[in-house]
């Protein structure tokens, strides 16, 4: 069989209380951005959502609903204003600023959002097992969407290892077990690591990255 190229987007480790203790994003998954020059008036409807300026209506030229304004005329956006402290919506409302170049893309996850998503998964995991029509069900093992698949492995001690991959990617179980091994060897055996706290250990970082790179080169089933 031909070994297909690994398509892993990210890895999350969640402790037994539901807080995020580690995350890793694969370097070869970039969120695409689109730049386009607009004339007045703007044909997109924008709104502020979660301290970001996002598209509410009017998809065109690859710009989708939910995309955030990442920059204007080459100046990067920081939340709902630009780096030079000007409010994005005010800049866009002023006709004198046109024609204007706006960069759109899927908003990047901030660390706070990641922490929130991790605790959300923790409770969804619990509800999933509670709503089971069959007795003695575990929590969510795998969650599938049209763009990614989430694999979750809970250890006996309650730590969850979560891997986000391409929907077509298989053989994730081996990689999940390998991650657990790396966690036990380089986080748990580190005398300076206190349990349930975020993992900040250089050895852990390098070993996890080595596993991911190896999986990338050789395919997941060869780990």
């Amino acid at each position: 069989a031909i070994e297909c190229k690994m398509a892993i987007f990210s890895v999350y480790i969640i402790n037994k209380a539901g807080s995020l203790i580690y995350h890793y994003d694969s370097p070869n998954t970039s969120r695409p951005a689109i730049e386009k020059t607009f004339s007045f008036p703007l044909e997109l409807v924008l709104k502020v959502f979660d301290e970001k300026v996002v598209v509410a209506f009017g998809e065109r030229d690859g710009i989708k609903v939910g995309h955030a304004v990442l920059g204007i005329n080459g100046i990067t956006a920081e939340g709902r204003s630009l780096q030079d402290k000007r409010d994005i919506l005010e800049v866009l409302a002023n006709e004198d600023n046109y024609p204007i170049n706006i960069k759109f893309g899927r908003p990047h996850l901030t660390i706070n959002e990641r922490i929130m998503l991790a605790s959300m998964l923790h409770s969804l995991f619990a509800i999933g097992s509670q709503l089971s029509p069959e007795p003695q069900s575990s929590g969510i093992h795998a969650l599938e969407t049209d763009t990614f698949k989430l694999h979750c492995h809970q250890t006996m001690t309650g730590v969850k290892f979560v891997i986000i991959t391409d929907p077509k990617q298989s053989h994730i179980d081996a990689l999940l077990r390998k991650l657990y091994e790396v966690y036990s060897d380089f986080a748990l055996k580190n005398p300076f690591y206190s349990l349930d706290m975020p993992i900040r250990a250089e050895l852990f970082d390098t070993n996890l990255q080595a596993v991911m790179e190896q999986a990338d080169k050789l395919g997941i089933s060869n780990i």
């Binding site: 998503l117 969804l124 709503l131 089971s132 029509p133 069959e134 969650l143 969407t145 763009t147 990614f148």
Partner: protein, 146 residues
């Protein structure tokens, strides 16, 4: 292979219809509570998935599996949510859920002037047709596989 149960929610979160076959575990909570919990879970998973996705989604959340069951999800653009729980050996149920929408819900509820939309379904016709349809599916088998 077997089908456990089926939920139909409208876009406001009201459970329009519930039906079950071969369900072994009954929850301690009331059915009403269960519907709310199920809707809340589906709603959160949708939001969770759309934020986590590295690329733009088209259909979004489709199914999840635990060690004992698989939950299939289908949503129409009008916000109707079809949820079905089956055992793990069942593949994609997207076509089945779409079929329930287009040839049962539209035919026997939307086209029935006596059926109030946005209210739980009481139509005996819909109930019988759905039951008949589900029982005829190849994924439905009441024999319990050991």
């Amino acid at each position: 292979m077997t089908i456990f149960n089926f939920y139909l929610f409208d876009r406001h979160g009201t459970c329009l219809y519930y039906s079950e076959w071969n369900r072994k575990k009954q929850l301690t909570m009331s059915k009403d509570e269960e519907f709310k919990l199920m809707y809340g879970m589906i709603f959160s998973i949708k939001s969770f998935a759309s934020r986590l996705s590295p690329i733009d989604m088209k259909e979004g959340f489709q199914n999840f599996t635990t060690s004992k069951y698989k939950l299939h999800f289908f949503e129409t653009p009008s916000g109707l949510k079809f949820v079905m729980n089956t055992d793990l050996s069942v593949g994609s149920m997207k076509d089945v859920l779409h079929q329930i929408f287009s040839s049962l819900y539209v035919e026997y509820i939307i086209k029935n002037p006596l059926c109030e939309l946005d209210e739980p379904i009481t139509s005996e016709l819909f109930k019988n047709k759905l039951d008949e349809y589900i029982r005829a599916l190849p994924q439905f088998s009441s024999k319990v596989v050991a």
